[in-house]
């Protein structure tokens, strides 16, 4: 989805204000319902609200791609904190510092791609909202969430390959990549696994494995340090 920028929100608010002014004028001043008033009402009830609806929809959809939006549920607090920590060294944190990912690092990595990728991603997001508000996630403590909330389906290596094409000479020249090429292509091995590039959100992987070595703040966790 192209970046519309904040101006779209301003357009939505401005058209809503103009429409509301027209409607309030009609309601409070009670002018005669002649042709002029009807045309003004057409603007206030039809044209400007349509502009508001269209722009607020696009702005709202874009807002759902922001990291703050993903982090607005408390179950994502650790992920958000880790991704925004300038000292953190997790895969997610390092990618979040990349200007290409910017403020939308959650979306860029977790979005489905392809023709229906955007719609599928948003449908998946609706499931998250359902689980949060009606599926009991809202009542979970952070510790419970860290233990019980997991990614819905195995992370697809194709998402990594949106940027890391795996066709460049440098990538192919690494022996481990050559050896695992077939498994990576078939998604049987994850790029973000302990033996390779490490978990993207290591703090969420419990006391065993490489994830245990890093806390949400990005620093080695004392309780799991060797």
């Amino acid at each position: 989805m192209p970046h519309a920028g904040p101006w779209l929100g301003y357009v939505a608010l401005a058209s809503a204000i103009v429409a509301a002014a027209i409607l309030l004028h009609f309601l409070l001043k009670r002018p005669k319902l002649d042709l002029r008033a009807k045309l003004m009402l057409l603007l206030g009830l039809g044209v400007f609200p349509t502009i508001t609806a269209a722009t607020s929809t696009v702005a709202g959809m874009e807002a759902t791609t922001h990291r703050e939006f993903c982090g607005s549920c408390h179950t994502m607090d650790d992920h958000f904190e880790n991704a925004t920590n300038p000292d953190a060294q997790s895969l997610a944190a390092r990618h979040s510092r990349n200007p290409f990912f910017g403020e939308e690092s959650c979306y860029v990595c977790h979005a489905d791609y392809g023709m229906f990728g955007y719609a599928l991603t948003k449908m998946g997001g609706m499931k998250h909202v359902y689980y949060y508000y009606l599926g009991g996630y809202r009542q979970m403590s952070k510790e419970e969430a860290r233990r019980d909330v997991h990614i819905a389906k195995p992370y697809d290596n194709r998402n990594c390959r949106q940027c890391h094409t795996t066709t460049a000479h440098v990538w192919r020249s690494i022996p481990d990549h050559q050896a695992a090429a077939a498994q990576l292509a078939s998604n049987k091995m994850s790029c973000a696994s302990p033996g390779c590039h490490g978990y993207a959100h290591p703090f969420s992987k419990g006391p065993d494995g490489l994830g245990a070595a890093t806390s949400a703040s990005g620093h080695p966790a004392a309780e799991h340090a060797p």
């Binding site: 929100g9 939505a12 608010l13 809503a16 429409a19 509301a20 409607l23 309030l24 009609f26 309601l27 005669k32 319902l33 002649d34 009807k38 009402l41 057409l42 206030g44 009830l45 039809g46 609200p49 349509t50 508001t52 609806a53 607020s56 929809t57 702005a59 709202g60 807002a63 759902t64 922001h66 939006f69 607005s72 549920c73 609706m126 909202v129 949060y132 508000y133």
Partner: protein
């Protein structure tokens, strides 16, 4: 009189019974609610407000616009026997106005 004519007659009577002005005012209030919901999603883009604006907010806006279109339809059906700014029934359904004596006789 055929059934379709009777249905049409009943529909026209009902349309005339309700004031165009009142319906437009209702449309305005409903639209204000819809606009507030949509504006809230811009000011506070949290999951619930965004979803609420994209579903309920836009549905409210559509209802308001439909009310406006209905009022236009009613206005057209009423025709010239009903002043545009006069709430209440059309002329043919009103109480007859008292006749004035224009002859000047005592």
């Amino acid at each position: 009189m055929s059934l379709s004519e009777r249905v049409r007659g009943v529909a026209i009577k009902r349309l005339r019974k309700y004031s165009v002005v009142n319906l437009v005012r209702l449309a305005c209030w409903v639209a204000l609610v819809g606009l507030a919901v949509m504006a809230a999603s811009i000011l506070d883009p949290s999951p619930l407000t965004v979803i609420f604006a994209m579903s309920v907010g836009e549905a409210i806006g559509i209802v308001a616009f439909l009310c406006y279109l209905l009022s236009i339809l009613m206005d057209i059906v009423r025709g010239t026997d009903h002043a545009a700014d006069a709430p209440g029934p059309a002329k043919q359904f009103r109480e007859p106005e008292p006749t004035r004596d224009v002859t000047g006789s005592p």
